[in-house]
Symmetry: C2
Subunit: 385 residues, 2 copies
């Protein structure tokens, strides 16, 4: 097990009819900017629940934060924060709204040239503007971590940021919110959280027995609840296990003391930046090829995963490992998610080269051993055509 | 799954040679009271590591906190805190020293009649004197939770306390500390953490799939590493998994959203108060009888545990459940721990009645359904003679 530090101060408020508790978490004298996305919260009743709870608080609103939160939009929100002397941010949405809010939390206190620096110069925020979240879409885990990913359409870039000052002060998780989420987004949430675990688990054995079992616990739970979540999102037991699994998949716990990969995300981000493919679906495109390409380096963990998640106990390490990749791809299909780039775009020619070029320009070496070079990424993306 | 709130702000610093980091966590201008136990830290080098790290900090010392931290001793330490204007507490020890430090953290800011109130009147501490810990004995999980248990010899009482202000600010966990721990205490640590998980898990099914699997992950890891920990405490892989499992067993995570029992601890505490039996060993005495006595109420979870921890897949729910209790008792024996009260004292007659009398006087109804009455406790303790 590697040495590690772990601290996660976010307060989670989880369960049925908990949204009204938002009023107990935000200081009464705060001037709040309520941030949300495309407006679905106005149809599903969540907006009304939040507004009712905050009836006695000074609240300004900023809606329209898009999926893959867009820098230009966020810069408009930043202007509102400054013009209106906002002191507290409240994200009501999924990972995109929460990530956008984290950027704003950082940007509101950043005194450099341009807030874009935070992304390009990897500025870590030690203390941002305080914020909380009301989660409306289980998927990214952003509600209990201190990271964010921001997109800039102008330059077709998608970059990560973070820092210890960017944990939400609180996050409210009412599993009932999933009843109004479209199938497509439920599938994305299952896919996203499943891949988050894989990125922290599918590396090489390091003797971190408990972290492995925790990771496997989340994978098993997602596999178990996925069919019910998709078939009947009003099933509270499935919804609550789905929601808590998504949070635990990326709140820092399972990554502690173990190597992390994250190459699937790095390649996937480029597919979103280039083609606008849903983040979760880019992971489904890249993951199977990534595991096949890096088979030798990952086969021990793949075989362990085969046994413990998919009950594949016959055959050699290689047999089990390969069967596990096939099972994984079949699971993605079961979620209704396509796993080839050509399923999403006809213009895929040249994509691998373009991604390799970008990685080269950034000097990126990816994977748990920083041994995955731009030319490897090129081959993996080609395998995923 | 039940509704829950979860917040755990303790910073964990985990790994080899991490004790020196204590200097980065304590404010340079603090006046520190370093608290420790019987002095083993002076033999195993941990005291020197801490003192070296804090060479530039004003440190007063208070040693001699006994196992089952004693109120009278802690009152002496409280006097030192007041006389010396201490501003920061540092526990260097196991659960007893850390629990004692939590009491002091609370007592230092309590302005009621007598600090004993904190225990008898269940005073919850919202903000105590800040403190950190250097863990020297994996077992209780006190290093990452906000609870404590304090003993008062004068009245033969052992009572619990806690509050959101009693999380350590930081805890340093260097698994190498176990190399100097006597076998007896290593076995106690394995026993204690295993039972912590059982108390939060062995209740009734509530559809909290992820919490169940996390609990099972800790149990599996403890079962897996126990023989190596006892045979060769210098095995770093076993030591690190043991240490992290103990912390995760009682840091609040696996109890969220599920019913909790804790009757084994409540009965066990009385055995320590009456006979001075090691805390962990009282759990081994009570647990098998408790699960047999409450068999009907717990058999579904016992059977799940049988399958997932002990690979018992044959037979009815009852068969598996009963076999699991036997496997559990055998595991305790494998740790070198006796499971009958008569193994520890010849004066056991009347114990069950005395415990029932105490529970009755306190109006206690125990267990996950608060349905275990003093007369049930009497029967369970008798079964454990």
């Amino acid at each position: 097990m590697n040495n590690f530090e772990f601290k996660n101060p976010t307060k989670i408020i989880f369960g049925k009819d908990t949204i009204e508790k938002v009023k107990e978490e935000i200081p009464q004298d705060a001037k709040v900017l309520l941030l949300y996305g495309g407006g679905s919260i106005k149809k599903n009743g969540i907006y009304d629940q939040v507004k009712t709870a905050l009836a006695n608080v000074d609240v300004v609103e900023f809606g329209g934060i898009p999926a893959n939160p867009e820098y230009a939009t966020l810069m408009e929100a930043l202007q509102v924060i400054k013009d209106q002397n906002i002191t507290y941010l409240l994200a009501v949405g999924g990972g995109s709204v929460i990530d956008g809010t984290k950027f704003l939390s950082a940007a509101a206190v950043y005194d450099g040239d341009t807030p874009w620096d935070i992304l390009t110069k990897s500025i870590r925020t030690e203390k941002g503007m305080p914020f909380g979240t009301v989660l409306t879409l289980p998927a990214t885990g952003s509600e209990m971590n201190s990271g964010a990913v921001i997109t800039r359409a102008e330059t077709k870039e998608k970059l990560a940021m973070g820092g210890p000052g960017l944990f939400p002060e609180f996050s409210i998780l009412d599993p009932q919110v999933i009843t109004s989420i479209p199938q497509r987004q439920l599938a994305n949430g299952l896919m996203d959280s499943f891949t988050h675990v894989l990125e922290q688990y599918m590396t090489y054995p390091i003797g971190a027995l408990l972290q492995d079992r925790f990771a496997e616990s989340i994978l098993q739970t997602l596999v178990e609840v996925a069919p019910t979540v998709l078939k009947d999102p009003t099933d509270y037991q499935a919804a609550s296990n789905f929601m808590w699994s998504c949070t635990m998949a990326l709140n820092g716990l399972i990554q502690k003391g173990v190597p992390g990969d994250w190459a699937v995300h790095m390649m996937g981000h480029e597919l979103t930046a280039l083609f606008g493919i849903d983040h979760a679906r880019t992971l489904a495109v890249i993951a199977p090829s990534h595991y096949k390409y890096n088979f030798e380096a990952k086969k021990e963990k793949l075989a362990q995963y085969a046994e413990r998640i998919w009950n594949i106990t016959e055959g050699s390490t290689e047999d089990k490992a390969y069967a596990a990749i096939e099972k994984t791809e079949a699971f993605f299909h079961q979620l209704g998610i396509d796993t080839k780039l050509s399923d999403y775009t006809k213009d895929y020619e040249g994509t691998a080269e373009e991604i390799a070029k970008r990685f080269k320009a950034r000097g990126w070496k990816l994977g748990e051993r920083q041994a995955l070079m731009p030319e490897d990424a090129e081959k993996i993306v080609k395998m995923a055509y």
